[in-house]
């Protein structure tokens, strides 16, 4: 390549050429001028390139694999983490919100009325035993399911039913069961409840909505199936299963039990002051911990409440 000096000289020499224009016949001047301008542009560009190259030659290369320059302090940019259960829960809540569901958070201490009575569990009924509830000295109950909030949600949103409206609410919350803890059992875990009430809610709508929910969550179309269940607060009651999604290694065969659901029992609607002859509804609820366990391949549920940084830093 020519030196910067050389290019500059050529530019200077070219400048002298312009003086010749005057000596040319008028009809030749235009063509001659254009050819000079073209040469000038080429030279200008060459000069710029030469100057850039000269500038670049002073830059020192660095070791991109090192954390810092030699003799410099190594600075750590610390990273925080969000709890995987909260991340999964928010993911689900985002989907619900996009589908149009209001969100209402659950209480962590409630009473017998909300845990059982308002959900059509007869007093002293053995179905109450299935929930292994804790109790306080005063008889309050740390809820064993987020369904405990159904009555409150129905009452709070009853006004929405006017003029052909609907109740569409999801209720995330922490729930408690009196059971021994091991790798697959926790006494403290998270659930998300949903309720929908309208003049013409059907079981077909319920299954459609729930299928859609899991399709949004797993980002693929999914087959669903059901099995009969028993909950005093829904009639009919079912368990919903989804095809094991591809992201969890599903090949179209296995099934995952995701949640319990059913048409809201007329007594539950009645107790919240909603006429069960005029309105129908469906409700469902499922665990959040299991979604995170499946998604991240967590082999011990106890990690969630362990506060171990070794675990948290994985997320």
């Amino acid at each position: 390549m020519r030196t910067i000096e050389k290019i500059k000289q050529e530019i200077k020499a070219l400048g002298a050429e312009y003086a010749k224009i005057k000596s040319l016949a008028p009809e030749e001047r235009k063509a001659f001028g254009e050819s000079l301008n073209q040469k000038r542009q080429v030279l200008d560009r060459e000069l710029q390139e030469a100057l850039d190259a000269a500038e670049a030659s002073t830059v020192e290369p660095l070791d991109v694999t090192a954390p810092a320059a030699a003799n410099a302090n190594i600075r750590e940019v610390k990273r925080g983490t969000k709890h995987p259960l909260m991340t999964e829960l928010n993911h689900i809540l985002d989907i619900y919100a996009k589908m149009g569901f209001d969100i209402m958070e659950a209480r962590q201490l409630d009473d017998e009325f909300h845990m059982f009575e308002s959900l059509n569990f007869p007093e002293g009924h053995p179905a109450r035993d299935g929930y292994d509830t804790f109790r306080t000295e005063e008889g309050f109950i740390p809820p064993a399911h987020t369904s405990t909030m159904q009555h409150r949600a129905l009452k709070a949103h009853k006004k929405d039913l006017k003029n052909g409206g609907q109740i569409a609410v999801v209720i995330p919350g922490r729930v408690f069961r009196n059971e021994d803890v091991d790798a697959t059992h926790e006494h403290t875990f998270y659930q998300c409840e949903g309720i929908f009430v309208s003049k013409d809610a059907t079981m077909g709508q319920m299954l459609g909505v729930l299928k859609r929910l899991f399709e949004e969550y797993y980002g693929q179309t999914l087959k669903i199936k059901t099995q009969p269940g028993y909950f005093p607060f829904t009639e009919p009651s079912l368990e919903l299963l989804i095809e094991k999604p591809q992201s969890l290694g599903g090949k179209g065969d296995g099934w995952l039990e995701m949640l319990g659901c059913g048409m809201i029992h007329p007594n539950v609607l009645k107790m919240a002051g909603i006429d069960p002859d005029a309105y129908k509804g469906f409700a469902w609820g499922g665990g959040i911990d299991r979604l995170a366990i499946l998604k991240y391949g967590i082999d011990d549920i106890r990690y969630f409440e362990s506060g171990k940084l070794d675990f948290l830093k994985e997320f």
Partner: protein
Amino acid sequence: MRISLNEIKKLVPAAAKVETAELVRLIGSRLVEVEETIDLAPKYQNVYIVKVVECEPIEGTHLHLCQIDAGQAVPVQVVCGAPNVHAGMLAVWVAPGAIVPQTYGEEDFKLDVRKLRGFESHGMLAAIDELDLGDDHEGIAEIDPSTDNPVTGQNVQPGDNFADVFDLNDTILDIENKSLTHRPDCFGLIGFAREVAGILGEPFQYDTCVAEQDKGQQVHIEIADPSICPRYSCAVLELKDADKSDKYLTATDIFLAKAGMRGISKIVDVTNYLMLMTGQPLHAFDYDKFLTVGGKDTATIGVRLARPGEKLQLLDGKTIDCIASDILITSGDTPVALAGAMGGASTEIDVSTTRVLLESATFSLYNLRKTQMAHGIFSEAITRFTKGQPACQTKSVLDSAIVMLGGTVVATGDNYAKKSTPAAITVTATEINSLLGTNYDAALMSKTLTNVGFEVIIKPRGDAAGGTPSARSRQASTMGESAAAGPVGFTITPPTWRTDIHIKEDIIEEIGRLLGYDNIPLTYPTRPFIGAHIPELLQLKNKIRDIMSGRLAAHEVLTYTFVSEKLQQDVGEDATDSYKIVNSISPELQCFRQTITPSLLEKVRGNLKSGHRDFALYEINQVTKQSYGKDEDGVPKLYTHLAYVTTGDFYQMKAALVALLEDLGFDADKLDFRTSDGHLPYLEPLRSTSVTTPHLCAGEVRNSVKKRLKLGAEPISAFEISLEQLLADLSESSKKSVKLSKFPAVTRDITLKVPAGTPFVAAKQAITEVFERESLIIALTPNSIFEATKGAKYRNLSFHLEFKSAKKTLESQEISDIMEKVAENAKKSVGAEII
């Protein structure tokens, strides 16, 4: 509960035509969750019935050298150690190459030919326990020569497949009991089979409630309160061999084994067999002992609640203190059994028993549930009783027992104290279809119900609300649904055993379930264009999580809502103000937490222990205490707190706190850090602060608390905020829009030498108030706080100032004037000297 598919197929011929996998799928999707499907056939491969032809003792041992006829040309030699082995008997032979059934699926012990005491032994003759059909290891299993082989249609022959003879080519379903809580009928094979027929669209033929006849003398039965015992039926039988155990392995033993039970004695086996078939538990008393206890020649059976202080010795030898809700069976007035749960020791049947009193009754499930919980009895019988066994079949089941036991009936009794007839339910086809979202026709609905024993009266269109039934039938009607003249209505009477059917939704469930929920077309509700409401508290929580886990590099943790009383005491909280769990798993999880920081401190300890340094944890969760009172629902008021704990000193924590509050929209300059109000007892008052807006406490953890929690000597700091309060404070401090000055800013660095003990904020204010008075815009950044030696009399506070006017460019004279005023004011306010 374990269900044999072969038994179901015997009761439902149509089921035998369905592939096992499909049958299991249908049961799973239309009746109950099948937890596990167990194929028994592979377990009994290469197991044969054989005849012991020769049997000679091996000298000096307890062993016998046997030649057995296994249906092959030559006898096979087996060494057997069982005391009951003898020539001529039919035994069960596990051939070489077979896995001992007891070990199947576990250690899979495979038999071969091996030498025992110098003699070759081919396989083994098996005991009941080795066949995994019971616990008996007294001797080898013996087969009655008159046993039929259903495959050959003849009496059993040496060489016959053991599994063929005893119906072990079977599939066992392990059923999730919980989802049948409301279905007492399905706790018997007959009830279960009826459902299977219904699922297959076939009518079920088996009437459990057959006509009953009283025989012999009348037994007097006194039921104190029909609500605790709607019906009590009984019979006294004289038996020749009441408790003679069967010498042979019988079909009943196998039947019981498949259900997970064990053969015990003839009487017990018959009662268990009938319980498994019908769901109705039976109990047998020794009748003569029963009379002795009552002190009379004739029995008076009493059913009543326990009285205060009453005790009863049970069959298992334990003496219980009865609770008020326990139902007792009495002879005269003396308790002889804990109803539904366990018999008493005083009337136990034994080898000398000749007359038995058989009880077939039903009791209040509510009382039995309390009995179950109070005395910890979880038998197969009480499991069925607590589902609410129907009263309609006590007598017929008892009659079956009489037939099976084959003795002489001495006396019978039946007190049907509380008859209940199921109420009819009216529902329309439209109601059914509109709740399910289906389009089933009325005939299909009717047939589906009648198949499983419902009585259905179809009312024609336009007659749904009532009126005379015009078609009454157990047959399917051909009537379809048409909108022309109103919906087709049904009046439906549930069968007597369906104690769970009360309302039309129950009927809709039956139809939806039996026809398959999976056949319902999926749709969506129509939704109005209304945005979802996300509570402000949830939005705030998520914003905080973004800041904390993002720029503040903290780790979000979740810890238990319940903490130990000891932890609360260790950190100085008043544990008596906590809501306490009475049935907690451990003392570690007893008190509802009042604040979250103590839980985080425990997690700091664990993480320090595993080698982590320089970290911050936070948690957002609910807290409460009794002194917060109750809300309008009468439940404890709950608050959501954010707690943050870091392994750093006060100022490190404060920097994070200020950054958080600033990001949330608070003006950092207006945060009023005051001396601690001592609100959080675990923070050191001299090294902590309270802020009023937003209300919070922040500081270093007390040395004494760190010591008790084993947190080491390095500083640990924390803050805790109520988010409800924060939300309220935030709405008050909404940020205003800022007008930017287009004039250049002036920068100056100054250092104030102030007497030690001057609050930093006072020195800072001494500077800023001068600019504010002059209506200048000031940004002040602290550069350093310098103390020459510990305890020095003065400190040097250095600041970087950036100020400007909103109206004009400041002249140099104006600048030096203002700096002069700063110096004066600093001297006047805090005794500072500019250096």
